[in-house]
């Protein structure tokens, strides 16, 4: 497999911990296969750093298949890099030019403090889910799949919303660091289904309240989130979240 190789310069944000002052550090990366994924390229850089007894660049990752939502960084000003609908782990070095300088920054938002280098603390999302991203049912025997009929359009809309992997790119890309797209996807995924219906009003209020409490901004419709989202979650979900919220203004569960 004799693929092409390129040389790039990495300009990476290095920050020792949450309270440290970060700064950019440059690394020249030689002979990287264009078939390598972006994270594999970072692995190569880190192997080199470790050989020199230097601190490797810390970045989050897990599945490397674009399904877990752990990876992510802002690459040359774009969350998850230049390829749309693609997580950072699924981005390949063939998307970059030989000799290019790649600026790599963590998600930057007050609600996502940097843990180290490119890794940020996204537990704020977990707390939004804890506030209402569930349905309250007694466990037991699972009902038959066809016992509750769901219209196809609603099932599709719920499924599309449920494909959000909670990566946080929407927050990173939003000029207001708003978590509206994430929260709206989670609200919609339940609101469209009969199982989510009984708690739909208290759920949207609790999740929005938690979103505010975590210090995320509000949506002013720049639609940067939708363009950055690796799962192509649509802003129509935010419109739907607002509809759910208006429902909660006039009626109760």
């Amino acid at each position: 497999m004799a693929g092409n190789t390129i040389n790039v310069t990495l300009k990476v944000w290095r920050q020792a911990d949450k309270n440290a002052r970060g700064a950019f550090a440059s690394y020249s990366v030689k002979n990287i296969s264009t078939d390598a994924s972006f994270l594999e390229m970072l692995d190569v850089v880190n192997t080199g750093l470790e050989k020199e007894d230097k601190d490797p660049i810390v970045f989050d990752h897990d599945c490397r298949e674009g399904i877990c939502g752990m990876c992510g960084a802002v690459v040359n000003g774009v969350a998850h890099g230049p390829q749309s609908a693609t997580t950072l782990c699924q981005l390949h070095m063939r998307k970059f030019k030989d000799g290019e300088t790649i600026v790599l920054e963590p998600w930057r938002s007050a609600a996502f403090p940097v843990i180290k280098d490119l890794a940020v603390d996204r537990t704020a999302f977990d707390r939004i889910i804890e506030a209402g991203g569930f349905i309250s049912v007694k466990t037991g025997q699972a009902p038959d799949a066809h016992a509750v009929a769901v219209p196809k359009i609603k099932a599709d809309a719920a499924m599309d919303a449920a494909s959000c992997i909670g990566c946080g790119a929407c927050v990173a890309a939003c000029p207001n660091a708003s978590a509206s797209l994430f929260t709206a996807a989670k609200v919609t995924q339940f609101a469209k289904l009969p199982q989510g219906d009984p708690e739909r009003r208290s759920r949207v209020v609790a999740m929005v309240e938690q979103m505010d409490h975590e210090g995320f901004g509000s949506c002013s419709k720049h639609y940067e989130c939708e363009a950055a989202c690796p799962k192509e979650i649509k802003v129509e979900n935010i419109t739907n979240m607002n509809r759910e919220y208006m429902r909660a203004l006039v009626t109760r569960d």
Binding site: K11, W13, G22, F24, V74, N76, G77, V78, S84, V103, E105, R108, S109, A110, A111, A173, P175, N176, A177, S178, V205, A206, V208, E209, M211, D212, G215, F216, G217, S218, C219, S220, K221, H222, Y223, E224, C225, E226, A227, A228, K234, V235, E236, I238, T239, N240, M241, N242, R243, Y245, M246, A248, L249
Partner: protein
């Protein structure tokens, strides 16, 4: 009891505040379009414009009810919008991105909402002082030298104001700010209020831009018309 158990509490979250900004914004847009239509009578002539102003004043209490509504909407709109903008600025954090590239629909209009909004506020305060509070429609300002000995009423007041190029320039800049504001606001509010779908977003954004241009050009046409009459083609 959590604050969001009550309706009032639910209106204080970011989404609640957005809904307030949206609903009050619609009221202000309705006012602006009505105001524009009325103002354009100035180009029709002194009789038409003064007759319209007279009729408005004859509404008596109703005009005060409308004014009260406008003031409430205006204050709520601005205070909620500023509160949201401050929270969003804080949410962005202190560390800026080194490189920032827009891949979405961020434009000058969407980024400058708070700036265009504050410009409008400054303008409206001056404007209400200029025409509503000190625009005595039979006083000195209502006489236009070139139009004879008679008071020209509110028409004369506006004419004299806009005959001053600096004042006209200020008005034109301000109404362009209004147009810029509306060119984003009108599409944005449809999403806030849960009306837009993915398919209708492009159309709504186009409609918002068209209305924004109509408002900017429409309002600007009045000072431009007066300048033309006062300094170029004569009254």
């Amino acid at each position: 009891m959590r604050s969001t158990q009550t309706l009032g509490g639910r209106l204080t979250t970011t989404v609640g505040k957005e809904l307030i900004v949206g609903v009050t914004g619609i009221l202000l847009v309705v006012f602006i379009l009505g105001h524009l239509a009325g103002n354009l009578l100035l180009i029709v002539g002194p009789e038409a414009f003064n007759h319209y102003a007279e009729q408005l004043h004859n509404l008596g209490e109703i005009i005060w009810l409308a004014r009260a509504g406008l003031i409430v909407a205006f204050v709520a709109h601005i205070s909620m919008a500023i509160s949201l903008a401050r929270a969003s600025a804080a949410a962005r954090g202190t560390q800026r991105y080194e490189v920032e590239k827009s891949v979405g629909r961020k434009t000058a209009a969407t980024r400058l909402m708070i700036i265009s909004g504050v410009t409008i506020l400054a303008f409206v305060l001056f404007h209400v002082y200029d025409f509503t509070l000190t625009g005595d429609r039979t006083g000195e300002r209502s006489f236009v030298d070139a139009m004879g000995e008679e008071s020209m009423g509110l028409y004369g007041v506006v004419f004299n104001s806009f005959a001053n190029p600096l004042r006209s320039l200020f008005y034109i800049i301000a109404v362009c700010g209004v147009g810029l504001h509306l060119s984003h606001a009108i599409a944005s509010v449809l999403s806030t209020l849960g009306i837009l779908t993915e398919k209708s977003t492009d159309k709504a954004e186009l409609a918002a831009k068209v209305i924004g241009v109509i408002v900017a050009v429409g309002f600007s046409s009045i000072p431009l018309y007066v300048l033309l009459r006062a300094h170029v083609i004569g009254v």
